[in-house]
């Protein structure tokens, strides 16, 4: 057993920290939030130049063949800094769907994602699917010279900034398909809105969208497996993001408890506040252990092992990070529920990421289905 980062990983981690410290800040985050923006072309280019887009993908498409832990290292720093840049939703997640779907067309798209020139978004979930990507009401019909898609995809993270939507749809015979739909295709209309962490998502309406047969990237089990496996990758990254956010909250709350005086003493001198902080500390430690466990054991095609590892980590961390977030606000008192201080924004980020692609309840149930011998 070895929990040390390799030299490359340490460099990656440091460069991510340094980049975010220089290019991102709470002020910038708030400015973007006020302007209903969660994206900046120049930052995207900068991140691509740092190799973040190429990192997760195979060398065959121009990627760096990075591991799941590599992805987590960046995700943790993003969470730590409240960064809403859609790296996860517009690059990692759609890129992984393409990688796992395979085939010439998918690989061509993936080259663009890996180069940072193409942004994607996964349009899998629907209003009535809850967290289950196999519940697909969107319909696809095939005719002689192509396909037609009708339906609606819900809460598609990052769609506002995506060139291509990776849409799941179901044929009349029940076969699922994974389809590459250009955002600009006729019949595609998007309603954008803000989501809880301050980033952006969209309703994707597909109204008689006609595309050539080549738009179909995968069918049946391959299509579903690609989506589920990519969502597992996303969840490993989400766990790391939650760890980053929870660690930041813990540190900020500890510092506040040392500094803030009431009744002429630092509130950190009250035993109950001390025990709250210890509980938060222990939960964050345990969460970190499971983040790396998920990164190491979730990086496999073997479905049962992967789902077990990811679901254990997400089920645990979703609860712990929410606890840390709630206690952080409570210890801060009034100032903790305001927009002025970062604590409240971390609180919302934790709410968001704890539920994105499955909350504790969902993942405990998935563990029961896959993981219990």
């Amino acid at each position: 057993m070895d929990f040390r980062l390799s030299d490359d990983q340490r460099m990656l981690d440091e460069s991510a920290s340094k980049y975010l410290a220089g290019q991102y800040s709470f002020d910038l985050y708030r400015k973007q939030l006020a302007a209903d923006v969660a994206f900046d072309e120049s930052r995207w280019t900068a991140m691509a130049e740092l190799g973040w887009m190429a990192l997760p993908f195979p060398e065959s498409v121009g990627g760096f063949g990075g591991s799941l832990v590599d992805i987590q290292l960046i995700a943790r720093r993003l969470g730590e800094k409240l960064c809403t840049d859609p790296w996860l939703t517009c690059a990692v997640l759609p890129g992984k769907v393409l990688e796992f779907a395979g085939g010439v067309n998918a690989m061509q798209l993936l080259s663009g994602v890996s180069a940072g020139t193409t942004r994607g978004a996964l349009a899998a979930l629907e209003a009535n699917s809850h967290y289950d990507p196999t519940l697909i009401a969107t319909r696809v019909t095939e005719n002689g010279d192509g396909i037609r898609i009708d339906g609606q995809k819900s809460v598609v993270f990052g769609a506002e900034y995506a060139h291509v939507l990776l849409v799941t749809a179901c044929a009349a015979n029940g076969e699922a398909m994974l389809i590459a739909v250009p955002s600009s295709a006729p019949g595609v209309s998007l309603n954008h809105y803000r989501v809880v962490d301050g980033s952006r998502a969209s309703e994707v309406n597909l109204n008689a969208v006609k595309l050539p047969e080549t738009a179909v990237l995968a069918r049946g089990c391959v299509a579903i497996d690609a989506v589920k496996r990519a969502i597992d990758v996303a969840n490993a990254a989400i766990c790391a993001d939650l760890l980053g956010a929870a660690s930041a909250m813990l540190n900020k709350t500890r510092d506040y408890a040392r500094m803030r005086k009431q009744f002429s003493v630092a509130i950190g001198s009250f035993q109950v506040i001390q025990h709250y902080l210890v509980d938060m500390f222990i939960e964050t430690q345990q969460s970190e252990s499971l983040v790396w466990m998920a990164g190491l054991q979730g990086d496999t095609q073997e479905c049962a092992d992967r789902e077990k590892a990811i679901s254990i980590a997400k089920a645990y961390i979703a609860r712990s990070a929410v606890m840390v977030a709630q206690k952080s606000v409570q210890i801060h008192g009034g100032i903790g529920v305001t927009e002025e201080l970062d604590i409240g924004h971390y609180f919302r980020r934790v709410t968001h990421y704890a539920q994105m692609f499955g909350d504790r309840d969902h993942h405990v149930q998935r563990y029961m289905a896959f993981g219990q011998g």
Binding site: A127, V155, Y193, E203, E340
Partner: protein, 390 residues
């Protein structure tokens, strides 16, 4: 022992229920159905409707212009109010400064202020907390210095809910800094139109503007606006803390919210069924319902004790703790059981369920429930003192 309402109480419940059905505006009801709070006009308009009916200051005795209801009637009224989708009334005039003026105010103060509170035409806010006096209220610094027939007030208040909606503010101010902390504090009524008052908004993490900072710079307040005598501020503040306990647990609203959550789950499809088909979701709701029952019957016991004129001790102090914990647990369940539908923020069109799309607001807003009015940790310290006598 008897848990049944009397025939008279049942008749009262029917009367109240019918009146609410006929008088709660559709806009308020729709906001409640989606878990949203009313805006200023809706809130004030609704309080005036209640005021015209004589049902705004329901905790007041008939002598002071209230309906003179029993604790049970007040409980029933609150239950029906929440069930009908009407918001709680703003407490600052009705439950706070009003009872203070009734108990401690001069005849002139009563004449000047009570009618506006009773009718819902005059709105109040509460100037207690300061940046360095939150849980430790006794260390407040806002000073009121006598200058002829005026106090000159300088200082800053914070967390002032609805200051931007208010006509008047009741303030704790320091009139004497030479005596022990609590002793130099006085209770002052300040017209919000007085020159020298500046209100700065504080935006909350639910995305709305409820709170404010209020700055006082050489604000001249007539001496006749002092309630009681100088140095009585702490006594009055403590009087308020033990004043009204029949609704402190928030049972009526929690009850409504749980019913709303059940309906939301039933209305939200999942595949071919609904979210209500998930046994773990149903169990989570069941556990909330069981906790609510415990709170509700504890509240009943407090109401019954109030009826008998018995003192309210540590028994009812627990109601605030448990009540706010339950409110938070309900909103957290709402956010979590909605899944991805709970993650949308400012969509104008519903995504699956507009009610789920808006659960985040109450969840975020109610984080303050365990903080304001004395954190739950402070509440527990107080109860511990009573229990242990240490």
């Amino acid at each position: 022992m008897n848990l049944e309402f009397t025939t008279e109480e049942l008749a009262f419940q029917n009367e109240v229920r019918q009146w609410f059905a006929e008088n709660v505006p559709a806009s308020l009801r729709s906001r409640a159905d989606n878990g949203q709070m009313p805006n200023r006009d809706e809130q004030h308009g609704w309080e005036q409707v209640l005021g015209r009916k004589g049902w705004l200051v329901v905790g007041w005795s008939a002598q002071h212009g209230g309906p003179g209801w029993t604790a049970t009637q007040r409980y029933i009224f609150d239950l029906e109010r929440a069930r009908a989708g009407a918001p709680p009334v703003s407490p600052f005039g009705v439950s706070m400064v009003g009872p203070v003026i009734c108990a401690f105010g001069s005849a002139e103060q009563k004449q000047q202020h009570l009618p506006g509170i009773i009718s819902g035409n005059v709105h109040w806010c509460q100037g207690y907390s300061e940046p360095n006096a939150g849980s430790d209220l006794a260390s407040l610094k806002t000073a009121a210095v006598l200058d002829g027939d005026h106090y000159v007030v300088n200082g800053q208040k914070i967390w002032t809910t609805q200051a931007h909606w208010a006509d008047w503010c009741f303030c704790l101010v320091r009139t004497d800094s030479s005596v022990k902390q609590q002793q130099g504090i006085s209770f002052l009524l300040i017209n919000m139109n007085t020159p020298g008052i500046e209100i700065r908004p504080i935006h909350s993490i639910d995305g709305h503007h409820h709170l404010n900072e209020v700055y006082f710079t050489d604000v001249r307040v007539p001496v006749e606006n002092l309630v009681g005598s100088e140095g009585m501020g702490w006594t009055i503040a403590k009087f308020l803390l033990t004043h009204e306990r029949t609704t402190i647990a928030g049972v009526a609203d929690s009850k409504r919210e749980i019913e709303r959550l059940k309906q939301m789950l039933k209305d939200t499809k999942q595949g071919n069924g609904s979210r209500w088909d998930d046994p773990f979701a149903r169990r989570r709701v069941a556990e909330l319902e069981i906790d609510l029952a415990a709170l509700e019957y504890t509240n009943f016991r407090t109401v019954a004790a109030t009826e008998e004129g018995m003192g309210l001790g540590a028994e009812s102090s627990g109601l605030k703790i448990k009540g706010t914990e339950l409110q938070q647990a309900i909103t957290q369940a709402m956010v979590e059981l909605g899944g991805h539908l709970s993650l949308t923020w400012d969509n104008s069109e519903p995504v699956g369920s507009f009610a789920f799309n808006r659960t985040r607001e109450r969840y975020n807003f109610l984080r303050a429930a365990t903080i304001y009015g004395g954190t739950n940790e402070i509440q527990k310290n107080v109860i511990a003192k009573m229990l242990l006598g240490l």
